[in-house]
């Protein structure tokens, strides 16, 4: 008996979403719909910040649920349901990003030239001329700065941060999702936070907008 099989009853006992998935395994359509309801927002949030596009994040979310449904008959609880689901999501996102880089689509890249400067900042500059309330401007500006900083990270650093922040995942769960060791996750998150700090600190300390830089992280 494998480790995952021996702990399956534990997960079934402790995780209500595992119990839902077991009902999906038995072709319970309402259980599947419940899982979609519970996780669609969380999935789209993480995926949107990972791939940078809302529409693609929605497509990937549906792809994740399709894969979950396809795998239902062979489902054996070997982890928390969310960990398993985000493992699938990570794979789907990685494939999408890899395909995108192959097609060489232009996307937001703060490491690029001036022609790839963030559209959000330009809009904010225009809005700052007086049309947008200051408070909203600050929030919108902050959001765009953080997006810029997040985009400066590599895919693994970004995912680790998003799972830690939005899903409150432990290092063990992130490790399982990303197929790393907990020590590797610890190191990954540390480097991600340092990179994030390097981009954000000038803005947070002195209000300086990030400059385009040619070097990539």
């Amino acid at each position: 008996m494998t480790l995952s099989e021996s702990s399956a009853p534990d997960y079934e006992l402790r995780d209500p979403d595992v119990r839902l998935m077991l009902r999906v395994r038995d072709d319970d359509a309402s259980a599947f719909e419940e899982l979609v309801l519970r996780y669609q927002n969380r999935l789209i949030t993480v995926l949107e910040h990972l791939v940078g596009r809302r529409e693609q994040a929605e497509d990937l979310t549906q792809e994740v649920f399709l894969r979950i449904f396809r795998a239902r008959k062979s489902y054996v609880p070997g982890s928390k349901f969310s960990t398993w689901m985000f493992t699938i999501a990570n794979n789907a996102a990685s494939n999408a990003l890899r395909n995108r880089s192959r097609r060489r689509e232009v996307h937001l890249d703060p490491g690029g030239t001036g022609s790839m400067a963030m559209p959000g900042l330009d809009q904010l500059a225009k809005a700052a001329s007086g049309q947008m309330p200051t408070r909203q401007l600050d929030k919108a500006e902050m959001r765009d700065i953080v997006r810029l900083a997040l985009d400066s990270l590599n895919e693994r650093q970004r995912l680790a941060l998003l799972l830690n922040k939005f899903e409150n995942m432990s290092y063990v769960d992130i490790a399982e999702t990303m197929q790393l060791s907990p020590e590797a996750v610890k190191s990954l998150l540390s480097r991600a936070r340092v990179n994030l700090r390097d981009v954000l600190e000038p803005y947070l300390e002195r209000g300086e907008l990030p400059q385009s830089h040619s070097s990539s992280s």
Partner: protein, 188 residues
């Protein structure tokens, strides 16, 4: 703390410990060590503050709330895709089902025929014997008039006693011409 690090910012191990401390992922012993460092080192406290601020800044990112129709479209999409994937095997199975039905019919018919013949051999039908003897029975009175077995055999050989399937009016039974029995002529 790495004694070879020029500043705290160069000490990757310590920064990892501070980052893990923020996440509550340090073991008790390591946690105490970090807290003792934070008490005595201004630089460590500043570093921790910067890491925490960078982490908190992510709160500015929006969390998505999808339209309720997204759930329905997702479930429908999954159902359609799964049905499509299951579609081709059903189309292939139809000819197989037809062939199986034909084979079953042939086997059943053969079994019925074999069973009928077996029953026929094992338990002869008395009524059938009567049917077969019907021509004789029908003409029994007339046949009794012929007091000659040889004649009867000749008549049978000519097919006189074969059952006529058609009604008597439909087709006349062809009867061979009887050869008169040669008579011995006496001279006065």
């Amino acid at each position: 703390m790495n004694p070879q690090a020029a500043t705290l910012h160069d000490d990757d191990h310590l920064i990892e410990q501070l980052s893990a401390y923020l996440d509550g992922e340090l073991a008790d012993a390591d946690c105490q060590q970090v807290e003792q460092l934070l008490v005595r080192s201004h630089e460590a406290r500043a570093c921790l503050r910067q890491l925490e601020r960078a982490s908190t800044a992510l709160d500015a990112l929006p969390r998505t709330q999808v339209d309720p129709s997204f759930t329905q479209s997702t479930v429908e999409m999954v159902a359609l895709r799964v049905a499509d994937e299951a579609g081709p095997p059903d189309a292939e199975a139809r000819p197989l089902a037809g062939r199986s039905a034909l084979l079953a019919a042939v086997v059943l018919a053969s079994a019925m025929a074999i069973g009928y013949r077996a029953m026929d051999q094992l338990a002869p039908n008395a009524n059938r014997a009567l049917v077969e003897d019907l021509p004789v029975l029908r003409d029994l009175d007339a046949l009794r008039q012929v007091d000659d077995v040889d004649l009867l055999r000749q008549l049978r050989g000519a097919g006189v006693f074969e059952a006529d399937p058609s009604p008597p009016t439909a087709r006349p039974v062809e009867r061979p011409e009887l050869r008169p029995v040669p008579r011995e002529e006496s001279r006065p």
